[in-house]
């Protein structure tokens, strides 16, 4: 088991290295980004103060140095917690990220939990009541859930809320609460608001889970050991849950690793539409003005979150399913 964990950990580190290269390419590639234009501007000014600032920038980002030096500078600073500077806000990236990353994590985890809590019972019901009216209803809804773009759903919801409540929904906190320090009232306030975006983000993932769970369980319920369990006179409940669901759920655990990226992606778009204080709108803004160090740090941090999630999912799977071999 330890071997397995170490193996997966090394694997994750390697992936992180690859991701950092990709992210750096994204940062370094655009010709007209903030950093280059700012350096050019300082050069034009030519005053002593500008000269000094320019030298500082060159040293910090290795502007005149070869690519691999720039990469190294960026990575080594990143590891030490220095994510560079946002040129748009003229502040260190670290200060700007603030709560947004935490809120993104909370939203993603809640979405994951919610989609499992909804999908598993529905999937089990659909499989045990194949082709019943409810099953067909769920199938229809889940097809629709897969087809509708999340941002559209968010928009529709906003329109409905304007009609019903007179004000568009949005935000994660009540007015004034967002500036308060963290505490139990703030957490409760967050929970009161977060369920709407969580439902929106989770819809397509939940739809997919329902379909996979239904398919898996149908396969398993046809197997002989399930039939023999029935023949031994066990109750349908016990057979479904102990013999069926336990087996059908295993492959789903390995799916968590793949679900997280799409949950994160969905949360970003929906956050932009509903202007929630998560990483989504910040990343979006940074990208639109090509504030690349800011955007790059987000990409990197989001990827790291995913890798951690993946790693945990792998370990959980190995722990739950004794048939997994540890390499």
């Amino acid at each position: 088991m330890i071997d397995f964990i170490v193996h997966r950990f090394v694997h994750a580190l390697f992936l992180l290295l690859l991701i950092s290269v990709v992210v750096f390419v994204v940062i370094d590639l655009p010709p007209g980004d903030y950093l280059t234009s700012r350096a050019a501007e300082l050069e034009r000014q030519g005053s002593q103060n500008a000269e000094l600032q320019l030298r500082g920038l060159r040293e910090r980002y290795g502007l005149d140095r070869p690519l691999y030096v720039r990469y190294w500078l960026w990575v080594s600073n990143f590891v030490q917690g220095d994510f560079g500077e946002s040129f748009e806000y003229q502040r260190p990236v670290k200060d700007l990220i603030g709560d947004s990353l935490l809120l993104t994590v909370v939203m993603s985890v809640l979405t994951l939990i919610m989609s499992w809590a909804i999908a598993i019972p529905i999937g089990v019901y659909s499989a045990t009541h194949k082709y019943s009216l409810l099953d067909q209803l769920f199938t229809g809804i889940s097809f629709f859930g897969l087809a509708i773009p999340g941002f559209l759903l968010a928009l529709i919801l906003m329109v409905i809320s304007v009609y019903v409540f007179g004000v568009p929904i949005g935000g994660l906190f009540s007015a004034g609460m967002d500036k308060q320090p963290w505490g139990i009232p703030k957490v409760l306030d967050l929970l009161k608001h977060i369920w709407i975006p969580v439902l929106l983000v989770g819809l397509s993932g939940t739809a997919e889970l329902i379909r996979i769970m239904r398919g898996n369980l149908l396969d398993i319920l046809n197997q002989q050991y399930v039939q023999s369990a029935h023949a031994r006179g066990l109750s349908a409940q016990v057979v479904t849950w102990k013999h069926g669901v336990r087996m059908a759920i295993n492959p789903l655990i390995s799916l968590i690793g793949l679900q997280l990226p799409s949950i994160l992606s969905g949360s970003i778009i929906i956050s932009i539409v509903l202007s929630l204080p998560t990483t989504g709108p910040l990343l979006y803004r940074a990208l639109r003005v090509q504030d690349m160090y800011f955007a790059g740090s987000f990409l990197m941090l989001l990827s790291m979150m995913l890798l951690i999630g993946n790693f945990l999912a792998d370990v959980a799977l190995a722990w739950v399913d004794p048939r997994i071999t540890y390499r």
Binding site: L15, G32, D219, V273, S303, L307
Partner: protein
């Protein structure tokens, strides 16, 4: 999976002889015919297929079907509501030729709200094959004949309403479908070539090649796609023409989607590598290239087609999301996502709900591909009943 392990000689695999020609008591069907037979059984997949076919056909002939050109503006008709063709006039008298009334614009001076009311004084019949804005069908055939229109410059027909600049929504939806529908196809085609080749190579050779390809495929699976898409789309140079951006976006979407395909095909290839016919080909002295292209790829073909069909909607949704955020297709080109960008504002959406029509088309397209993909998956599996 294990449910598919049937006896290969199971009779359900073979067609039951029907209408055999010339007194023969058997018919032979090609693999394609067999798949078509099984595909036809799924009603919903057929419906999906028909819808898709209609969408693609209208995309091909969009310039002809659309009454105007995408940039034609009617500046005194902004945000005009949809006006379906009428058969009954204001006095409930039936006319065999469809017609419309001119929409008279009134502006509320206090709120600056624009309202439209039909002007019942004169009927404007809709003419078919009417002369209008010049266009080039498929970029080749020059013409100025449109399927329908009023034929009068100052009386536009807005079947689906008009937008912020007084442009016909139907025209924009039709022309936009060219981008939205092709982008998915081209993107998946590129992703397919990369994914199937790399997947087969990776599964066939194994070892370090396999490791390398799989690490890269995994990288694409764990990286959060939308943010990366956004980042890559955002760094496309602003100086690019809209056609270059279109291809840029297509390549970005496809580069990031071959990963899952490569993984699935690798798995299949790994299983096939030890099969008798591959070993036999080896023994007969066939080259790696020959084995990959003549044995492994064709055997994966049905699987590849299914995965591709299910990947297209994903790409369409990706493009829609990017364009919706203003990071995708740029003017003068348009796509369903670009059109939806105008529906971003809740107030606009409440007053001009017809702006959301492109979204309905996106949903229908995605549903269509999902149904066809599901139908195909069952149809290509020879053990399905």
């Amino acid at each position: 999976m294990s449910a598919a392990m049937g006896n290969p000689n199971d009779s359900s695999e073979y067609p039951v002889p029907t209408n055999a020609p010339d007194g023969q008591d058997w018919v032979s069907l090609s693999q394609g015919q067999l798949i078509w037979r099984r595909f036809k059984r799924s009603r919903i997949a057929l419906v999906g297929g028909v819808v898709l076919l209609a969408f693609y056909l209208s995309a091909i002939f969009a310039d002809f079907l659309a009454p105007y050109e995408i940039s034609t503006r009617f500046t005194n008709q902004i945000y005009a509501p949809p006006t379906p063709p009428r058969f009954l006039d204001s006095e409930s008298i039936f006319h065999s030729q469809p017609f419309i009334y001119k929409m008279k614009q009134t502006i509320n001076r206090a709120t600056l709200e624009i309202a439209y009311a039909p002007d019942f004084s004169k009927r404007y019949p809709l003419r078919f094959f009417v002369k209008g804005d010049p266009y080039k069908l498929l970029g080749i055939i020059s013409s100025d004949i449109h399927l329908f229109g009023t034929g009068e410059k100052d009386v536009p027909v807005f079947v689906l309403g008009s937008d912020r600049q007084g442009r016909d929504m139907l025209t924009r939806v039709l022309v936009g479908s060219q981008v939205s529908l092709t982008l998915g196809l081209i993107g998946v085609a590129i992703g397919l070539i990369l994914g199937s080749l790399l997947g087969v190579v990776s599964g066939y050779f194994g070892g370090p090649v396999d490791d390398l390809v799989q690490r890269f495929a995994e990288l694409l699976l764990v990286i959060p796609q939308i943010p990366l898409w956004m980042a890559l789309a955002a760094i496309l140079p602003v100086t690019w023409s809209s056609l270059q951006v279109y291809f840029g976006i297509t390549i970005i979407l496809s580069l990031l989607t071959w990963g899952s395909l490569a993984r699935q095909i690798r798995g299949k290839t790994l299983a096939m590598r030890e099969e008798g016919y591959v070993l036999a080909a080896h023994a007969a002295g066939a080259s790696h290239w020959w084995i990959i292209t003549r044995h492994l790829l064709p055997n994966n073909a049905s699987h590849i087609i299914v995965v591709a069909t299910l990947a297209i909607p994903y790409m369409i949704l990706g493009e829609t999301a990017l364009s919706f955020l203003g990071l995708g297709i740029r003017a003068p080109m348009t796509s369903w996502g670009v059109l939806l960008e105008e529906a971003q504002n809740v107030q606009t959406l409440i007053f001009h709900p017809w702006l959301v029509i492109p979204a309905i088309l996106v949903i229908l397209t995605v549903l269509g591909f999902n149904f066809v993909g599901d139908g195909l998956r069952d149809a290509v599996d020879p053990y399905s009943r």
